[in-house]
């Protein structure tokens, strides 16, 4: 970039169709004469000090840019947002367009929820980990299910070989779920469940366990991930094709809108999109486009937008590019607020504000010099907090090897507590607001994300875009480019392609191992469940699920009845497979 760099004018470029560009409303923040003085001073600095410095020592790189490829000028100043309308783009926390945060008090009122994802081995193992984390100050549960549960198979299915309890807790029937939440008051804690293709079964089981504890479903608080679109885009855990899968998601949104007012039925998730290789801009764009598709589908089935939109939640990744990540959260809230208001005509404030969970970037962690991961995670967590997240998961240093040990997960939780209680980041809402750089990046991230969203709109929406493979291709390209940049040394990863220590491959850090005995014990429990239940009752309950699937009724109530009759997760998902068919992705790379 030359020394006479013209700052890009973020307001000048065309906005996406979502939302329509609002008319310029008011006067600039700075008066014309003051701006003219700033511009003159910038020009003098550019020709003077900057030119002299560059003559002595050129820039380290030709071009400086963010991880998403947003060009970064030598300097930013008040004139870089000379058309800024503070009231239109920023305003105040808890006020439209919510750029500065969904609540007026932000962390002065309440810190973010420190929600460490946990789940491994048997339901007994995970129940113990839940209780351990609650004792250590965690404020919400977060459940990881194992691969068979996520893919809709019971622990005794041939596809489950080697996978039971490995990446999360093994759950095949309501009996497992009863053990998982044993002694945990579901009316008091909130629970997040990371499950998608089989989410409706997990929701049904949670409702059933709560009922057994005497807690009615309307009192249950928590979040179901249940974001199927991102599964086809990135995480690739699916059962049925996209259209019926999205229909089941909308059934859950509708059911929760009616019967579970404290429950977030969907966490529209960019995390996996990012981990699969997307840039921050792509992550934001595809996530919001997924959210737009769910809202569109729900509206088309006749739901009033203000009846369900307040309970939609989001989930973003936080990667290493600190300032771009902060900008991403701010841009996300602004785009969502404008989209909900202008495109969907939402009226309630709660429908407009974007609430989000965040997780530090698992993919950024390195096997080499694993203790460096503590530092990476701390920086990423700090960006999420400065970006104004409502809930946060910090990764553990050992996650490039296995699920975290108790010691590693404690360091990760302590990282959040240090940020929350020692850093002072809790003392003011949106602390980086007005940073010339952060505001520039917020505008640029927004503008570039809206360009993707407009392309997806032109394709006919996200389901169509997924069927055409558009986001999948974009992400694969970005992932490959990133890897090549690392291998060419254009990107530094400390301890991996620079600053290596001989012999440090991470051996010696303790890792968690899941014994195959877990699978055997789970299979035995499942067999006992099957012996003790009423086969006729199960068959009848599954028939009701099938009828709802075929006839278009909401599938959630019959699935609740089926799990109460101890129909297994695999059996319910087999009904979906039977009615809707299974999904296979072509093997393009």
């Amino acid at each position: 970039m030359s020394s006479s760099t013209k700052l890009q004018d973020p307001r000048g470029a065309a906005r996406g169709v979502t939302p329509a560009a609002p008319e310029r409303a008011g006067e600039p923040v700075y008066d014309r004469e003051a701006l003219a003085r700033v511009l003159a001073e910038r020009e003098a600095w550019t020709a003077g000090e900057l030119a002299a410095a560059l003559a002595r020592m050129p820039r380290r790189k030709e071009r400086f840019e963010t991880d998403s490829g947003i060009p970064i000028p030598d300097v930013l100043d008040p004139a870089s947002r000379r058309e800024e309308d503070f009231r239109r783009d920023l305003g105040y926390p808890g006020r439209y367009p919510f750029t500065r945060g969904p609540q007026p008090t932000m962390y002065r009122g309440r810190l973010w929820t420190m929600r460490q994802f946990a789940g491994f081995g048997s339901p007994e193992d995970t129940n113990r980990r839940f209780k351990y984390l609650l004792q250590h100050g965690m404020t919400g549960l977060s459940t990881a299910f194992d691969m068979p549960a996520l893919m809709g198979y019971d622990c005794d299915h041939p596809m489950s070989r080697g996978e039971v309890g490995k990446e999360g807790v093994a759950v095949s029937s309501l009996r497992d779920m009863e053990v998982l939440f044993d002694g945990i008051p579901l009316g008091e804690v909130t629970t997040s469940m990371t499950i998608n293709a089989s989410a409706v079964v997990a929701l049904a089981m949670y409702v059933a366990v709560a009922e057994r504890q005497g807690v009615p479903r309307e009192r249950l608080g928590g979040t179901l991930q249940a974001d199927m679109l991102k599964e086809y885009i990135a995480q690739k855990e699916w059962i049925v094709p996209p259209r019926p899968a999205v229909r089941i998601v909308c059934d859950m949104i509708e059911f929760c809108a009616r019967e579970m007012p404290r429950w977030n039925p969907v966490s529209v998730s960019g995390y996996h999109i990012r981990e699969a290789g997307a840039t921050a801009v792509q992550e934001l764009a595809f996530t919001l486009a997924d959210g737009i598709e769910y809202v569109q589908q729900c509206v088309e089935r006749g739901l009033a937008v203000d009846d369900f939109a307040p309970r939609l939640s989001f989930f973003f990744d936080v990667h290493n590019d600190f300032f771009e990540e902060v900008a991403k959260f701010r841009a996300a809230r602004r785009i969502w607020a404008r989209t909900m208001k202008e495109r969907f005509g939402a009226k309630r404030k709660e429908s407009l504000l974007l609430r989000t969970h965040a997780q530090t970037a698992g993919v950024s962690l390195t096997a080499q010099q694993p203790y460096n991961n503590v530092v990476r995670t701390a920086l990423q967590a700090f960006a999420a907090v400065l970006g104004g997240t409502q809930s946060l998961h910090t990764n553990s240093l050992d996650e490039t090897y296995a699920l975290p040990t108790e010691e590693a997960v404690t360091i990760a939780l302590r990282t959040q507590q240090i940020i929350g209680f020692e850093s002072g980041a809790d003392r003011v809402a949106d602390p980086l607001a007005g940073s010339y750089y952060v505001e520039y990046l917020t505008d640029e991230v927004e503008r570039r994300a809206l360009e993707h969203i407009r392309r997806i709109d032109e394709m006919g929406g996200m389901i169509r875009a997924v069927e055409e493979g558009y986001p999948q291709r974009e992400i694969a390209e970005s992932a490959y480019r990133f890897q090549q940049e690392v291998e060419r040394g254009e990107r530094t990863i400390v301890g991996v392609n620079r600053f290596r220590t001989e012999g440090d491959e991470g051996s010696g850090i303790p890792t968690l191992r899941i014994d195959e005995a877990v699978a055997r014990a789970q299979q035995e429990r499942l067999a006992a469940v099957k012996r003790s239940r009423s086969p006729a009752g199960v068959a009848e309950a599954l028939q009701r699920v099938e009828r709802a699937c075929r006839e278009g009724g909401n599938v959630v109530p019959p699935v609740i009845e089926a799990v109460k009759a101890y129909a297994t997760l695999g059996e319910v998902c087999d009904v979906f497979r039977k009615v809707f068919g299974t999904y296979r992705e072509d093997g393009r790379f």
Binding site: Y153, M159, E167, A402, L403, I514, D586, G587, F589
Partner: protein, 139 residues
């Protein structure tokens, strides 16, 4: 083209249920860019499906990527099946989220090399050039 000059044929496979295919796809692309013939199975493959594909495609090597923790079950299941089918001359290698302590045990099961997180794609290419050779033409 003589036997020794034909490009190596490599099957890149994702065994098990995890859907994290970033690594598999990057490796598949890097191997193709290096001049190998690459067949990618796509996701959610059983050991039986992988071995059947290796046989059908007459590959010289099979590279598997896994991060669900099922490697100690699924990798050996593939090499065992290959032994049963007299495919001992097909080189099998793997990578993913695999604890280093598991590497020697996997090698005992016939996994020729295990690439851990942080491996450059070029390192995989170089290793294949050194350790994989075109199999004799099928009778």
């Amino acid at each position: 083209m003589t036997e020794s000059q034909r490009p190596l044929r490599i099957l890149v496979a994702k065994p098990g249920l995890d859907g994290h295919d970033r690594g598999a796809k990057i490796i598949a692309r890097a191997l193709r860019d290096a001049g190998f013939e690459v067949i990618y199975t796509g996701l959610h493959q059983t050991p039986e499906m992988i071995v059947a594909a290796a046989l059908q495609e007459d590959v010289d090597a099979v590279g598997m990527s896994i991060m669900s923790g099922a490697h100690m079950t699924l990798f050996p299941a593939v090499t065992d099946l290959m032994k049963q089918k007299q495919m001992d001359d097909v080189v099998v290698f793997g990578g993913g989220i695999i604890p280093q302590d598991d590497v020697p045990r996997l090698k005992e099961h016939g996994i020729a090399e295990v690439f851990l997180p942080g491996t450059a794609t070029q390192a995989v290419v170089d290793w294949i050039r050194a350790h994989v050779h075109p199999r004799a033409a099928a009778a």
